[in-house]
């Protein structure tokens, strides 16, 4: 498929996903009512409150988190030379959640900072353990990542129980939840994430070469140590931001780059931006399902991404063999 056509179709898809999400919910809003609210923000106070204070912020949150997960997924798959990894499977999301839990339990000032530190430390830990004699062992990587992830999740539950924190809230946190929007945090997160993502896209051809072979990349002039540091830090920081905003949402980072690669090929210069939009669309749809399926109750969005993502993951795994 032509790249322009793909990007154009994805943006149309994003538009419809946003529209779908804006009108769905415990209070149905028709298209006319929505248009009214959008044209004259204070005409109908009830509807405009729902749109501007609840649904739109939540959609903006889903766009950023889904986009980040899509981009980080494409980065991790390239840097680990393994199309089966994402922030969740490598344990990086759980590392971020663990950092955030520490910040909550001990009332530290910046939850985001701790989430980022947790994510960066986990990614370095998993990478170091998966490398033997300068070679990255893909099986070790998957196993160590999954184990680190479950260990940290259990540790989070354990610490929460030990320090008498509300376990239901922790479960929501571990399953991913887009219901709480801190607008100031969201604003800063957008600002920093977009800078980091642009930086990641700028160096993406070097990551392309790196994703074939590290030694060959070095010989053809790529500063491989710089590339590794840049992308480990970026994916750690981005995952930390996403987890601080919404908890651990699995499978988006795995499935989206995979589907997008099917259309674009592995070139990250196009795959990264397209995975951002794709992740955003996917998460908006999953979140809308999560908050409307059992009205008036809501379920964590991670349940929906898991229900959709895990089977897709297994399909991909089987098809590869």
């Amino acid at each position: 498929m032509k790249k322009n056509v793909l990007i154009f179709s994805l943006i149309i898809l994003l538009f419809f996903a946003i529209l779908f999400s804006l009108i769905s919910g415990s209070i149905k809003i028709s298209i006319e009512e929505l248009l009214n609210v959008l044209i004259k923000p204070y005409f109908n106070s009830d509807n405009s409150l729902i749109i501007y204070k609840i649904r739109l912020p939540r959609i903006l949150l889903a766009i950023l988190v889904g986009g980040i997960l899509g981009v980080v997924g494409s980065i991790l798959q390239a840097i680990f030379k393994n199309p089966l990894v994402d922030p969740f499977i490598t344990g990086v999301s759980s590392g971020a959640a663990f950092g955030a839990t520490i910040a909550i339990i001990f009332n530290f000032y910046s939850l985001t900072f701790f989430a980022i530190s947790g994510a960066v430390l986990t990614i370095l830990f998993v990478y170091k353990l998966s490398v033997k004699n300068n070679n990255l062992n893909l099986y070790n990587l998957l196993l160590i990542g999954v184990m680190t992830g479950s260990f940290l999740s259990s540790l989070i539950m354990f610490l929460s129980a030990f320090f008498n924190k509300d376990l239901i809230k922790v479960v929501f946190w571990l399953m991913g939840d887009l219901s709480i929007t801190n607008f100031t945090l969201l604003k800063y997160s957008y600002f920093f994430s977009i800078i980091i993502i642009c930086l990641c896209i700028y160096f993406s051809n070097d990551l392309n070469i790196f994703s074939l072979d590290e030694d060959e990349a070095k010989i053809s002039g790529v500063k491989t140590e710089f590339i590794k540091t840049l992308y480990f830090l970026s994916s750690g920081i981005l995952t930390g931001i996403a987890v601080a905003l919404s908890g651990v949402i699995g499978f988006v980072g795995l499935v989206i780059p995979h589907i997008m690669r099917f259309f674009t090929g592995p070139d990250l210069r196009i795959l990264m931006p397209v995975s951002f939009i794709g992740g955003a669309v996917f998460l908006i749809i999953c979140d809308t399902i999560a908050r409307t399926l059992f009205l008036p109750a809501e379920i964590p969005v991670g349940i929906i991404t898991g229900l959709l993502g895990a089977p897709i993951f297994i399909l991909i795994l089987i098809r590869r063999k």
């Binding site: 700028y202 074939l212 072979d213 060959e216 070095k218 010989i219 090929g265 070139d267």
Partner: protein, 266 residues
């Protein structure tokens, strides 16, 4: 003029007790075609990695165009030395064109947008190697011979004066083997210096002008084909008796013929 010159290079892997390379001193001149041969585990690939700048922490000195290799940046070195790996284990399915374009990296920024000039260079190389019909195909769908040509195209796109190759003909059938070596000969005539590792004594004898025999990390013989490809010397280096060396009736170069154990009379 000397392009690559090593003085007493010794190297030991961190996890090993023995030196992998012992006082290796070699001198590769401009426009030479040099083969590196020797038993498995002799240290040939390690020496290659040192010459490519992949392994640091060796003892001794290595000069590229008379300047210490450590004084070159990645990109400067990439413009002088390019490398064709022995095997590839590429996970992601790039197209042939995308892979060849990666060779232009030393001349581009990190985003890698190709200029008209870069594209012309790539197309010329594809013409030269006869692979312009496959540039839109996925690399993974190619045959072993085609893959090899694509990797050499990527190395040529780097426009380096030295081509390093680790057993480039191992998986090639007879047709591709000769095609590949003929292309190397043509490249050599155009001014490229070629250094390759090979186990194929006859190929070395017919195509290269110098051979370096390495055993247990030491250079045992280093010289012109007719001096080094010699029955006694090869038997000493490979520690193996079941062959004879005879003149190729057409080319006049020394060729190796195997003799199965049950026919050696001993």
């Amino acid at each position: 003029m000397s392009i690559i010159k090593s003085e007493n290079i010794s190297f030991r892997y961190a996890e090993s007790y023995n030196n992998c390379l012992n006082n290796i001193s070699i001198d590769i001149n401009e426009k030479e075609m040099v083969a590196l041969a020797g038993p498995n585990g002799a240290g040939k690939t390690t020496l290659f990695k040192i010459i490519c700048g992949l392994i640091k922490g060796y003892a001794g000195n290595l000069y590229v165009y008379g300047k210490d290799i450590n004084l070159y940046s990645n990109i400067e070195l990439a413009k002088i030395i390019s490398y064709i790996p022995q095997t590839d284990n590429y996970i992601f399915d790039f197209t042939v064109y995308e892979i060849i374009a990666m060779g232009r990296r030393p001349y581009l920024n990190s985003f890698g947008i190709l200029s008209k000039k870069d594209k012309d260079i790539i197309l010329n190389i594809c013409d030269f190697l006869g692979i312009n019909k496959i540039i839109k195909r996925k690399y993974s769908n190619l045959s072993g011979g085609e893959k090899r040509l694509v990797l050499i195209a990527r190395a040529l796109a780097q426009e380096a004066s030295v081509l390093l190759m680790d057993e480039p003909t191992t998986y090639l059938d007879l047709y591709y083997k000769i095609l590949f070596m003929d292309k190397l000969l043509e490249l050599n005539k155009k001014g490229k210096t070629i250094l390759l590792i090979s186990h194929d004594i006859n190929l070395i004898s017919e195509y290269m002008n110098k051979v370096i025999l390495i055993k247990e990390g030491k250079v045992i013989y280093d010289g012109k084909i007719k001096q080094v490809i010699d029955e006694k010397k090869l038997k000493e280096v490979f520690n193996f008796d079941n062959f004879i060396i005879e003149k190729n009736k057409v080319s006049g170069n020394p060729n190796l013929f195997f003799i199965p154990t049950n026919k050696t009379g001993g």
